[in-house]
């Protein structure tokens, strides 16, 4: 059975069993749900008005920024088209809510309330308002398990926003830490650099913030620098998250070079370890 699963033969079985235990998760989540509902209901009118005004302002601000972004994106698509390269376009976003249940304490996985019924698929990127949270691991009919980027078995291709330097961010089992091994000592990376998804590997759309570099240690004796980054997403606090579905906007011929690129990237990481 265990081997079965390693070969991913039993995913329909898993989906079925997971759907069967979903009510238990719901029952556990229920008291929290009621608590939230009550606190929302009992909020004073004044607080609500204040919040409303604040949100309205924020909305206006974002709207204005979005207008410029739209235009920039179109321009970008046009330029990428000139270069004959593929460009990912965001297609559908699904908002999922966290179910407050404890899963395996030694892995960073969380459960959300959207599943295959809502079009979620394994490997789908999960974001929150601040950045990348993780990807969908296993799914059932109406819930899904999300593996966070800090899980010890998770790796994410990233690039430095400032200069496009590529790297791979590994989870280290600590919620506030990502590691970037395999970066040479003379790599141009500094504390405070923003890391964004590079889109290599095909799993994640490019350009979403992942983490901020907090520590770069260069030891002359070692071939690689020790780089630690802190995820920008609030991995342990966000309750609502976005499940993104992307689509590559170009012909199928264009996908080949990208895949090649990915392979070479993997090769680099392999030889480094």
């Amino acid at each position: 059975m265990t081997l079965d699963h390693r070969q991913h033969l039993s995913s329909p079985v898993r989906e079925l069993v997971q759907t069967a235990v979903y009510p238990i998760h719901l029952v556990v989540n229920l008291p929290f749900e009621i608590g939230d509902y009550a606190s929302e209901r009992l909020k004073g009118r004044h607080t609500l008005l204040e919040e409303n005004a604040r949100l309205r302002n924020q909305h206006l601000l974002y709207e204005a920024r979005l207008q410029r972004l739209d235009q920039l994106e179109r321009e970008n698509i046009r330029l990428q088209g000139l270069l004959d390269s593929s460009y990912e376009v965001e297609e559908a976003v699904l908002i999922a809510e966290l179910l407050r249940v404890d899963l395996d304490p030694y892995r960073h996985i969380i459960k959300v309330d959207k599943g295959s019924r809502h079009g979620v698929f394994a490997g789908q990127p999960v974001l929150d308002a601040q950045g990348v949270m993780g990807q969908v691991d296993t799914i059932s009919r109406s819930s899904a398990v999300v593996r966070l980027i800090t899980d010890p078995s998770h790796a994410l291709p990233v690039q430095v926003n400032r200069n496009g330097l590529r790297a791979i961010a590994f989870g280290g089992g600590n919620l506030r830490e990502l590691e970037l091994p395999h970066l040479p000592n003379n790599a141009d990376i500094r504390t405070g650099d923003l890391l964004v998804t590079s889109g290599l590997g095909g799993g994640f759309p490019s350009g979403y913030p992942v983490a901020r570099v907090t520590q770069v240690t260069r030891e002359p004796g070692h071939p690689f620098a020790r780089v630690i980054a802190e995820p920008t997403a609030e991995l342990d606090r966000s309750r609502e998250m976005l499940l993104v579905r992307t689509r590559v906007r170009s012909d199928d011929d264009d996908e080949a070079p990208e895949q090649e690129d990915t392979a070479s990237e993997n090769g680099i990481s392999g030889s480094g370890s």
Partner: protein, 162 residues
């Protein structure tokens, strides 16, 4: 035995369900690593009290449910619980007559065995190894056992499970 009415199926099923709920109910960060394996404890009790009704099959199904619940590899708890049920059913006549304290020691060994199997499977799959704190849940489970035993005995008598 074959003629005895099979009552109390709901009690067995319900107790396993409650164990599931206890398994996933959120705990504060410091207590998360100390959560005892409730399902294993409940299974030990039923295998010991009514070995002709709860055995490897129930344990297997309960383990599958546990795997789905925790998002672990499908079958790793199932395997551990089947072995657990086998041992308990084999030894049930002995464990039954032990005083509570001695029973708790046996339970410690059984829980440690379940944990060891998990540990092996996690190792095989290549999950990173946690430290010594990994072995805390069996100890907590042992401390919980006397209370659980008394409660479960009450449940069994109330529902007339035999």
């Amino acid at each position: 035995m074959t003629l005895a009415p099979r009552r109390g199926g709901t009690a067995i099923f319900g107790s396993i369900l409650i164990a599931y709920v206890l398994t996933v109910v959120p705990l504060p960060e410091w207590a998360r690593l100390a959560r005892p394996e409730w399902v294993a404890l409940v299974l030990i009790y039923w295998c010991m009290a009514v070995p002709h009704r709860v055995g490897a099959v129930t344990a297997f199904l309960a383990g599958l449910g546990q795997d789905a619940l925790q998002g672990t590899l499908l079958g790793q708890h199932a395997l551990a619980y089947v072995i657990l049920a086998f041992v308990v059913v084999k030894l049930h006549q002995r464990i039954r007559v032990y005083p509570l304290g001695q029973q708790a020691v046996v339970v410690l060994v059984l829980l440690a065995m379940v944990h060891l199997i998990q540990f092996w499977i996690n190792g095989l799959v290549g999950r990173p190894m946690p430290g010594a704190i990994y072995w805390l849940p069996p100890l907590i489970g042992t401390l919980v056992w006397p209370w659980l035993f008394v409660i479960m005995r009450g449940v069994r008598r109330y529902y007339g499970v035999q």
